[in-house]
Symmetry: C2
Subunit: 333 residues, 2 copies
């Protein structure tokens, strides 16, 4: 017989009932030491593994949370995910991860799959769901959205930095360095990109500078193309909507033979680790922390479903590096 051993097999081999075997494997103190040893030994000899699906079914809980991640390729999301996983594990949850690859309809079906798997909660590390879908999901299961504020949906919490404020900080930083021709390369037409853009515009206005905005996207190629346009417009400083795009912008600068920061300054947004090595200034968010907060909010809400909707803001700050201001390497020498 090559069938996987079940509790019955273990119980039989140990000469006890399935119930006692179950108790013993759960570490209950009510089982006699002698039977406990016999049961554990039998389980070991048989290579027994408890069947979580059966267990979940009867217990009415899966101890699993579902995580949707917008884009696996953006290291920023990976860093958030890492925080979610860490905290979820600590709290006794496994994670079931899916991606919609930035397509709303596969996103929908993937999350539906999570619900069918009876995840106890949902963490959406960015998403492209319609409001209706989002509300539907949040109605069924505790949900937290990471990366932007979502209010007014019952059963839903959110975590993010303040994108408008962060963008203003970036402008402040560049303006303080004496830049006037600060061009913003956008992240396309989505909520976060719009907020960052708004912050940029407010910041420019506050400094009495004329805003100049060029289209981009949240990808390397978007940053590359946007940067080229910005340079043609005579930019002396680039504020790019996210770090990935900033890396693309860096390539554009290199291809144009421009030095950073001597010819053009560069600031990104997100705070992804890699930019440290690249010595690029960025508006940093505490990514892993956002993931941890998300997991905490979620597990809290699972424990207490009625709780009112909460939003947690994490701190956003400029991490100044060599791409703006004096070069770090040069300074060190």
């Amino acid at each position: 017989m090559s069938r996987r051993p079940t509790l019955y097999d273990v119980a039989e081999r140990a000469g006890v009932s399935k119930s006692l075997a179950s108790l013993a494997l759960q570490g209950s103190p009510k089982v006699a030491p002698s039977s406990r040893d016999a049961i554990l030994a039998a389980a070991d000899e048989l290579g027994y593994r408890p069947n979580r699906t059966a267990s979940s079914l009867v217990r009415q809980r899966t101890s699993t949370i579902g995580v949707h991640i917008l884009d696996l390729h953006n290291p920023v999301f990976a860093e958030i995910l890492d925080g979610v996983q860490e905290r979820a594990r600590q709290r006794g949850y496994s994670t079931l991860l899916v991606t919609g690859n930035a397509d709303p309809s596969t996103e929908r079906t993937e999350i539906t799959g999570l619900l069918e798997s009876r995840v106890e909660g949902l963490v959406l590390i960015a998403h492209r769901l319609s409001d209706a879908d989002l509300e539907e999901f949040a109605r069924e299961v505790p949900t937290v959205v990471v990366t932007w504020r979502t209010d007014g949906v019952p059963g839903l919490d959110s975590v993010s930095g303040d994108d408008e404020h962060g963008a203003r900080l970036a402008v402040d930083h560049l303006a303080a360095l004496g830049h006037e021709r600060i061009v913003h390369v956008t992240g396309g037409d989505n909520r976060i990109a719009r907020e960052r853009r708004a912050g940029y515009e407010q910041g420019m206005a506050a400094h009495g500078l004329e805003p100049y905005v060029v289209d981009g996207s949240f990808t390397e190629s978007g940053g590359y193309a946007g940067a080229l346009t910005a340079l043609d417009a005579g930019a002396t400083a680039l504020f790019v909507a996210n770090d990935l795009a900033a890396i693309g912008a860096l390539a554009a600068l290199r291809d144009r033979g421009l030095r950073v920061p001597e010819d053009v300054a560069l600031v990104g947004y997100d705070g992804m680790r890699l930019l440290e090595s690249l010595d690029v200034t960025t508006v940093a968010q505490p990514l892993a922390e956002m993931g941890r907060v998300a997991a905490d909010l979620l597990t809290d809400r699972i424990a207490q479903p009625g709780r009112e909707s909460t939003y947690r803001r994490v701190e956003t700050r400029v991490v100044a590096r060599g791409s703006s201001g004096p070069r770090r390497g040069a300074a060190r020498r």
Copy 2:
């Protein structure tokens, strides 16, 4: 009642038996159109979601594969994962993702958890398991190891590039550019790092050059530190054990005020996307493809468990960029 609706609820509302409701929801052709419509309507009105745990239990299959990823932060693994997910989804499997964070013991317990969830197969995107553990897991469930060759374990397949060969290609490339003082920054003391190092040494020997090896690791900081040592040794070209470390090396070069490639040439290993923007030469592996192959091997083996152990090698090649040879940007101008 706020209990989630079950098949019984749907059946009752539609005025049929649970069996027929089940049939209808599975899209069986044997149910009369009129009852089918009634059942579907009832399900919709109730917001019914099939319970996958119950379904898995009785069908004796979960349609889920478990994926272990060594390190979420290395975009290389994310790219492989992407391939796995894509193909798994196509073949009708969900994925359950875990990380051991490079710690063998949490790795072990995480994978044990996957087994308890009755995943039908295991994809290990790099791992630190002992041979004994690996064999134990492979005995229980079809398994494929991505990233290095693993022979002789029944029930286990593997996919990788040829690391020794790839490293030789890197040396060939640099030697062809006229470099003689090619220093290798290692990836530490692990199997892949050793293979790449061996390939480097063979390559150097083949060109009649004297090998020079400095310790590093598969991280940015390892590459940074290793590069500094290499530069002190008078390197004119750096062959760094992986791309992440190559980014660290780039930072070291920048901090030393050295130009790439005029002063020092740089070659990485893995083929991660980001390096394209950074214009760094790398020994590229088709990462997403490796993930797809892994998923294919796995689903094949699930379908046909007796199949003999197979190894699939993917092609590895040098992608020459500006960090070795004439600068791309300059050439374009």
